[in-house]
Symmetry: C2
Subunit: 200 residues, 2 copies
Amino acid sequence: MFLPRRFIEVSARLSSLPGIGPKAADRLVFYLLDQSDEDVLALAEALLAAKREVMFCRRCGNFAQGDLCEVCRDSSRDTKLLCVVEEIRDLSAIERTGAFRGLYHVLHGRIDPIARIGPSELRLDRLLERITLDGVREVIVATNPNFNGDITAMYIAKLLAASGVRVTRIATGIPKGSDLEFADVFTLTQALEKRTDVQS
Amino acid sequence: MFLPRRFIEVSARLSSLPGIGPKAADRLVFYLLDQSDEDVLALAEALLAAKREVMFCRRCGNFAQGDLCEVCRDSSRDTKLLCVVEEIRDLSAIERTGAFRGLYHVLHGRIDPIARIGPSELRLDRLLERITLDGVREVIVATNPNFNGDITAMYIAKLLAASGVRVTRIATGIPKGSDLEFADVFTLTQALEKRTDVQS
């Protein structure tokens, strides 16, 4: 090999990250070695600080520094409306729309019979507790519209049936801006079944 | 914002790196926060160790840990044959072909009239010194086949004319205006094989 061991070490570590191949990793190391000592130190320290200080929100399971996350600390949010998601990246996708002003509940997983993940691993006790204590009005179940997400949603609906809270599911259908021609059979079937009246 | 400050900080730093956009940076932070403390610490330390210990080879200008780089320390290489490149990433591209068994000389730049970079900034004294001291037989000028690379090659050919050393230029075959870094192995191998004498 024509590069020093330390170079290869850091390049190998970077190329193990998602979306970074060996060539991109080498290019990153070339770039980083060209930066000032201060900049590289700042990157390394930002990484360690994030790892050290970023925890899960005690209430909703989002990333948080301290006890509660930014969403739970925002007093303008509707605390009676909960959106249940599988992962924080799903919360992140919904936040980007700006269309939701309630709070979240992150399951950190989904019921998955093949991987033997059952409901006891999904922070559902905490969900029930929140619904009772906070007087929640509606729970929107925004688990992914696939097999595992659907059975998780069904389980949650049953679990909450006795509580009297309204349980809804995000709509499935043809994505806005896409073409019917390219929609898969299941999506298109669902879109037909769940058709809505057009207001004239 | 719905993410903690430390998350945003490290994401912003990652998205300033080449080839990493804001969404990819967020995805990297999601991934890294999911790794063990040991793994994140190891990445940060590998980064700092590389930055601290990787220097330039005293002889050729490649990356090195210690005085000489891996190429210069390899006793099987032909020390009478030098390949002059602009940057270490060009050396890296040539090494990947496996077609070159001589040593390198990295200019760390090229003559660039617009950026006012002249020959005095290109380690050319060191090149002349090496040619004299090591009894070099041939210098292959593998600067990029674009305007700045070509005038740099011409300058080097003139500079070495008196020394009696054979000066060659990698063959074009690599498309004009592109970068060595991105050339495929076969094109680059051909370019090395079909090198031609430079008229001074």
